[in-house]
């Protein structure tokens, strides 16, 4: 019996190893981001999430030089109450698609969609795929108090117990639970979270399209009202109207198009679907295994990364993801960010367009756009990470436990 289970385990390991080798061979450097676009961003009243999405896609198409009629794949996602968003996108673009769906993993959906686009292209299911997200979170939560309440308490979408009766209202409190646990275990402080907020704001001030235009200081951070302790106002990302899109095609084709190709070198995904409260998932996030797979596919490691776009729905998430991605050891994220590593010119410039905290919360779609732009090396000098060759992008969401990672490289 024991002999049998040993053999079964050896078998499983052999299969797992074979699969990893095949993944690397089939997907590394085979596809590229060939177009990047975003819409108006921030407060864009009177324009629907869908129209913003189309605006971003139009900009990505123009950027790339592909024709609208070349597009045969749509991996587009919208606000959570929109049914089959991707179909509505196809209708407004006036095209049919061979491969089309909306991924449902919250903020991980966009990075995961880029990975799916590569898989679909390699499987011969499509050749030119739009990955996009469009949202109207600012407008929809500022329409009236009922809309705000429905958003904050997740209305009918959540179980009707073990939540709101305790005054527990979803994302802010859930992430704050992780932040507090990290603080109590490792001695992480709000000073560390403050540094992350400051980095994002300073980067946003160099980005003319960013939602946040005003500088803030360490004092402003500590004087701001508490939201859900340990989070204050500046630990929380924005509510934004806006959209982003990228176009994925084969690396071969990318070399004949308008822009310098940005290769998709590796991707990975992991989901702690047992839940945010289970195991120690609040502190050891799914970024760890998601990142490990992406590194393996790319044949790279954390020391190869020149610039990182880390999903920053809350300051704490950046800190814990940096640890999980191996930029420092678990528990040392506070020291790592305090060293100034995340700043322009630092060891790992991070969220260089301002992130969800200060550029705009478009569910991480703009992180992918910014990573590609950094690797094209076409930013104005103040925004450009010098000689950026390798970028890491993270996506996090789906009740805090779904994660996807991309490693992109300059061709």
């Amino acid at each position: 019996m024991r002999e049998q289970s040993k053999r079964a385990e050896a078998n499983r390991q052999a299969i797992a190893q074979t699969m990893q080798i095949d993944l690397t061979r089939q997907f590394r450097d085979k596809c590229a981001i060939v177009g990047v676009g975003h819409s108006r961003l921030g407060r864009v009243p009177g324009v629907s999430a869908l129209d913003l999405q189309i605006e971003a896609i139009r900009n990505a198409i123009e950027d790339s030089g592909v024709r609208l009629s070349d597009i045969d794949g749509l991996l587009c996602r919208g606000p959570q109450d929109v049914y089959c968003h991707h179909q509505l996108v196809g209708a407004r673009l006036g095209i049919n698609a061979r491969f089309s769906t909306s991924v449902d993993s919250g903020g991980a959906s966009q990075a995961l969609s880029v990975a799916l686009a590569v898989m679909a292209i390699q499987a011969g299911m499509a050749s030119t795929i739009v990955v996009g997200f469009g949202g109207d979170a600012w407008s929809s939560t500022h329409a009236n108090e009922d809309a705000r309440l429905a958003n904050d308490t997740h209305g009918a979408k959540r179980p009707k117990e073990f939540g709101l009766e305790y005054g527990f209202t979803g994302a802010v409190a859930a992430h704050a639970l992780g932040a507090q646990r990290h603080m109590d275990i490792y001695g992480t402080t709000r000073e560390h979270f403050c540094e992350i907020a400051l980095v994002c704001r300073e980067n946003a001030l160099r980005n003319p399209d960013a939602q946040m235009k005003k500088p803030f200081t360490r004092d402003d951070y500590f004087n701001a009202r508490m939201v859900v302790a340990p989070f204050g106002l500046f630990d929380c990302s924005l509510r934004s109207d806006g959209a982003g899109a990228v176009i994925v095609s084969s690396a071969e084709r990318a070399r004949d198009l308008r822009q310098h190709p940005v290769l998709i070198k590796g991707f990975g995904s992991f989901n702690n679907t047992r839940g945010w409260f289970a195991d120690d998932n609040m502190v050891h996030t799914a970024a760890a295994r998601s990142g490990a797979d992406a590194y393996r596919m790319a044949g790279l490691g954390p020391s190869d990364v020149d610039v990182a776009q880390i999903y920053d729905c809350f300051t704490y998430m950046v800190l814990t993801e940096l640890e999980d991605y191996g930029f420092c050891k678990k528990g040392e994220g506070g020291d790592f960010v305090a060293s100034g590593a995340l700043r322009m010119g630092g060891a790992l410039p991070c969220n260089t367009a301002g992130g969800l905290l200060s550029e705009g919360h478009v569910d991480g779609m703009l992180h992918i756009c910014e990573a590609a732009r950094q690797l094209r090396q076409t930013h104005a000098p103040a925004r450009q990470v010098k000689d950026a060759e390798i970028a890491l992008v993270s996506g996090h969401g789906g009740n805090q436990v779904c994660h996807a990672s991309l490693i992109l490289g300059r061709d």
């Binding site: 904050d152 117990e161 073990f162 009766e165 209202t169 302790a229 340990p230």
Partner: protein, 139 residues
Amino acid sequence: MSEAPRRPLPSPPQESQAFWAAARGHRLSIQHCNACGQAWSPPSQLCTHCLSADSKWIDAAGRGTIFSFVVVHRVYHPWFANKVPYAVAVVELEEGPRLLTNITGVDPAALRCGMSVTVTFEDVSADLSIPKFTATPSA
């Protein structure tokens, strides 16, 4: 003046009704699997460890530790307007399961992960009591 805001209360699905019925009698009830011997929460028809349908409800001892906690300052729902700041925690019971709850009767500044807590019940109405936790009195 608008009318007073309605307190958000649980409207439990089928699988949780035994939990809330027990809470009304000031018992903290969790499911225990007869097949694998483990307990779980929140309630579900099949054991979340082994998917067995052979389980029973047991009364938890009502003791546990704070796995993590937050202090809510913002008024998300108008009923909580005069309750902020209040503490929300995930408590790990001695029996294993973790529950979302409130910590009452403790200065929020004194809360720590790992702190020992004991169940207490807030009687909301003739039909409903809500389990919460408070600091375990030192022996």
